[in-house]
């Protein structure tokens, strides 16, 4: 049985427009699955629905989202809250913006751990530093004693991933986790994500517009276009042997180092 199964999911807004239309896909344990597509294709809305945090007015009108045998759509508000952070964690494009700017990382992190686990502050602190070290933030104590603005974008992103992974969620959702970063830092974060899966067996759904990153990280890729999933398959099926013209175009459009130049 798959860890996560999305079946014929349709998400509509109050005014009737659909953001996601009849989308199905499944994620096995220990897999990295990428949702790729251009802006407005519905990929972010899809993962938000899994997290149970659709923007106001949005609603899953049809279909099922099943995590480990539980239909997430039939959960109560409280059960959903419990689910978030414990079973499902999310990393956003700009982690810095989702942090409290006037609180030390230490207190935010420890607080986050203690909302899901009944352990002492000291234990939480140790757990946090341990997790930060796994994210290759070697000077974990200094990071813990910093304010968000004192950290660089890449560090914040790694703190965000560490925070998301502390509770060892069944599923990690990453919404454009590298898009706001410089290329060399992006490579570091991609490396971190890869290690999470290889070393710790994490299951990750990655939303990205960067085909290169998706191609490097994913076991499976779903291509989305105007609220629909045009193609879903293993990484090689999508990248090497795409069936849909749209997927081919998308791959061709990515600037490549050895590719043709427009300028003469």
């Amino acid at each position: 049985m798959s860890l996560l199964e999305v079946k014929n999911c349709t998400i509509r807004y109050q005014n009737g427009t659909s953001a996601v239309n009849n989308v199905s896909f499944s994620v096995e344990k220990g897999e990295i699955v990428s949702l790729v597509g251009e802006s407005g294709s519905g990929k972010t809305t899809m993962v938000r629905a899994i997290l149970g945090l659709l923007p106001p007015g949005g609603k899953v009108t049809e279909g099922e989202i099943i995590l480990d045998g539980r239909n997430l759509l039939s959960l109560s508000e409280r059960e959903q809250e419990e689910l978030r952070g414990k079973d499902i964690a999310m990393i956003f494009q700009d982690v810095g913006a989702s942090m409290d700017p006037i609180k030390l990382i230490k207190s935010q992190y420890v607080e986050a751990i203690r909302t899901h686990e009944r352990i002492s502050r000291e234990e939480s602190y140790d757990k946090a530093t341990d997790m930060l070290k796994r994210m290759h933030l070697t000077d974990a104590n200094r990071v813990m004693a910093s304010y968000p603005f004192e950290l660089s974008g890449g560090m914040k992103q790694r703190v965000g991933i560490a925070m998301g992974m502390t509770a060892q969620p069944k599923l990690l959702l990453a919404d454009e986790p590298t898009s706001a970063l410089d290329v060399t830092i992006q490579a570091q974060v991609v490396h971190e994500l890869r290690e999470l899966r290889d070393k710790y067996g994490a299951t990750i759904i990655l939303v990205t517009h960067n085909m290169g990153v998706a191609s490097y990280l994913s076991d499976k890729i779903g291509v989305m276009k105007t609220s629909q999933m045009v193609e879903f398959g293993t990484r090689d099926e999508i990248i090497i042997d795409p069936k849909e013209q749209y997927t081919k175009d998308l791959i061709d459009a990515v600037p490549k180092m050895g590719g043709n130049r427009f300028a003469r």
Binding site: Q186, G212, R264
Partner: protein, 319 residues
């Protein structure tokens, strides 16, 4: 008489910003030239000073030292009134399409602005020209009456480009002009830019962080790190001829669509050091795997390799 081929010459330009009691060295001793019909790429990570250079060339930021010459005219110390007229030769296209437009101004009015302001042509005449401009960038005339929020990002960027070329500038600066767009749209805009540069025989400075994209629209690329240009390369042969370790790191950081999943990523350790500190040695020394004692204490100068290839490194990668 200045050399006809060279349009823009930047000589030893530096920019320092006062930050509290310290100084932030945004750009240090940068020199390059740009010819007619040429597109020069400026690549580097955020905070490396590439946008600061753009602003100094556009005249919206004064230089701390150095000179910038356009068509033989040094304009960094021009009087405000004189510069107001001179400014038309340098136009700029910015990254975020939507924020480049006043939300309450129609596209038509926006396009007319430069001609009306600089050449005092009548509104009707300018409007007729605006229609032609729209056609030039591949947009229908009915867009004249639209508001910015009614257009997509790619369409807005086309309009911004149309406005920039309306007064036939000598230099067009694109500061991450395609950075906020989807890849397919990005390519369309890149193509359009290349066409316009060729057609109008203007100079273009194309700033970006995506080396592959920048390479595709330029003839030469300058790689910047921490306020300095570390390597000048020919776009065509960039991948084969690069010699600077930082250029290598940038290339290694690109995830190719057809990459090998099992191959480990070559990581560049750490992050760029603070621009608030003066570095005696090579700015890249701290993160460079080929760093030697000399690199820490002495600043490597840009030295000529061959053709248009220059590199600032004591231990350039041999090939």
């Amino acid at each position: 008489m200045p050399d006809n081929a060279v349009l823009l010459e930047i000589k030893n330009v530096s920019k320092e910003f006062p930050v509290k009691k310290k100084k932030l060295y945004a750009v240090s001793d940068v020199s390059f030239t740009l010819s007619r019909g040429e597109t020069l790429g400026l690549v580097g990570e955020s905070g490396c000073g590439k946008s600061t250079i753009a602003k100094m060339i556009a005249g919206s930021l004064p230089v701390t030292s150095g000179s910038i010459t356009l068509d033989g005219v040094e304009y960094t110390h021009m009087k405000k009134k004189e510069f107001a007229k001179f400014r038309r030769s340098i136009q700029m296209v910015f990254q975020d399409p939507l924020s480049s437009f006043s939300p309450r101004m129609r596209i038509g009015t926006y396009l007319c602005e430069p001609r009306v302001n600089y050449d005092h042509v009548s509104k009707d005449e300018a409007m007729a020209e605006a229609e032609e401009l729209l056609a030039k960038v591949g947009l229908p005339a009915e867009f004249l009456m639209r508001y910015p929020h009614e257009l997509s990002g790619g369409q807005l960027q086309r309009v911004a480009i149309a406005r920039a070329i309306a007064i036939s500038p000598k230099i067009l600066i694109c500061d991450e002009a395609t950075g906020a767009l989807d890849v397919s749209i990005q390519n369309q805009i890149a193509k359009l830019l290349v066409e316009l540069v060729e057609e109008n025989n203007i100079g273009c400075l194309f700033i970006g962080h995506d080396l592959a994209l920048v390479r595709s629209v330029t003839q030469r690329v300058a790689i910047m790190y921490l306020g300095r240009i570390v390597e000048f390369l020919d776009s065509e042969t960039l991948q084969e001829e690069y010699m600077h370790p930082y250029t290598e790191a940038l290339l290694d950081s690109i995830f190719d669509v057809h990459c090998d999943q099992d191959e480990d990523i070559k990581l560049l350790a750490g992050e760029a050091p603070s621009p608030l500190v003066v570095h005696n040695g090579c700015p890249f020394a701290q993160r460079c795997e080929y760093c030697t004692e000399q690199c820490r204490y002495q600043l490597p100068e840009l030295s000529h390799v061959n053709g248009t290839h220059y590199v600032a490194c004591f231990n350039p990668l041999k090939r």
